[in-house]
């Protein structure tokens, strides 16, 4: 059973390696495929993000957010980081989105709540202008600074990741476990109401 799983993950890793080599112009046809995939992921990210930001119903906004998460996971695949792609789906789609759904449910943010009205057109235009700021400032800088870079580093495997967690990144690894514990304890402390019989049903 273990051997079968090993082989499966091995072939999966090869698939991702191939996807990554596509991004370098070894063969013109491959590069085209990679660009096509990249364009598809960008489409997912932009459309999902716009739904997440502009939808008047928060449940729909969260669904848009999930689409964006899938797009970013695809980007990680193209970057030859299959482990990160899986973690993206597991943590963001599996945990964070469920938390957001809980928040929507507990605050009774229904379709006729505070978000129901579309923001004023003038506010919307100002928001788009503000979002244009980083694009206009950082976009050309990124283009200038990175257009000449073609060298790539050797790809690390999942085993390297595990070793890194236990050697060079040991301190952040331990710290983040403390952060998670403190966050959980803090959340319980904030939301806990001692002595109330109705509990959260009163919400």
């Amino acid at each position: 059973m273990n051997d079968v799983l090993d082989q499966f993950f091995h072939s999966l890793g090869h698939l991702f390696d191939e996807a990554e080599t596509c991004l370098t112009p070894y063969l013109p046809g491959q590069e085209f495929v990679a660009l096509l995939a990249f364009a598809f992921y960008v489409l997912l990210i932009v459309s999902g993000g716009l739904v997440a930001v502009l939808a008047r119903n928060l449940v729909r906004a969260t669904l848009g957010l999930i689409v964006t998460f899938f797009g970013v996971a695809g980007m990680y695949l193209l970057l030859a980081s299959p482990f990160l792609a899986l973690m993206q789906l597991l943590i963001y789609v599996g945990a964070v989105c469920v938390l957001i759904f809980f928040a929507i449910m507990l605050t009774k943010n229904t379709s006729d709540g505070d978000e129901a009205k579309f923001p004023k057109i003038s506010n919307l235009i100002l928001a788009f202008l503000a979002a244009l700021g980083p694009l206009v400032v950082a976009g050309p800088l990124i283009y200038q600074g990175t257009k000449a870079i073609t060298t790539r580093k050797p790809v690390d495997s999942g085993a390297n990741l595990g070793e890194g967690l236990l050697s060079i990144d040991l301190l952040p690894f331990e710290l983040i476990s403390i952060v998670l514990l403190v966050a959980m304890a803090g959340a319980v402390f904030l939301a806990y109401r001692p002595g109330s019989k109705e509990g959260s049903a009163a919400l």
Binding site: T68, V96, L99, A103, N123, L190, A191
Partner: protein, 109 residues
């Protein structure tokens, strides 16, 4: 145009979209959704920069692990924000951002 440029521009796009949300949303939950977009852009930029660049001396795994830590922080942040939204909802009855503009000790309190 190098692959790194493409990936960094994509993360910049995520940043901009998240900013639009931060400005236009009226409820705390909506703000949480926008912040998640911003954090995703940050993770993507970190991984892409450590992958291709000779910009930084970082190893490939450094980038991936840093993105992993960003994800962990995002999970912790979402938990805490959920608790805070609950507290605000209990105290004020709604979770719009405009309801929590008064702090303790000010005139209207």
């Amino acid at each position: 145009m190098s692959p790194l440029t493409l990936f960094l521009l994509a993360s910049l796009l995520l940043l901009s979209i998240g900013l639009i949300g931060l400005i236009t949303r009226r409820t705390l939950v909506g703000l949480l959704i926008s912040v998640e977009l911003l954090l995703n852009g940050a993770g993507l930029a970190i991984v892409a920069a450590a992958k291709t660049a000779s910009l930084t001396g970082a190893l490939d795994i450094h980038g991936q692990l840093a993105a992993l830590f960003v994800m962990g922080l995002a999970a912790a942040e979402a938990t805490l924000v959920l608790a805070m939204v609950l507290v605000v909802q209990r105290r004020f009855g709604r979770s719009a951002t405009e309801t929590i503009t008064v702090i303790k000790g000010s005139k209207e309190c």
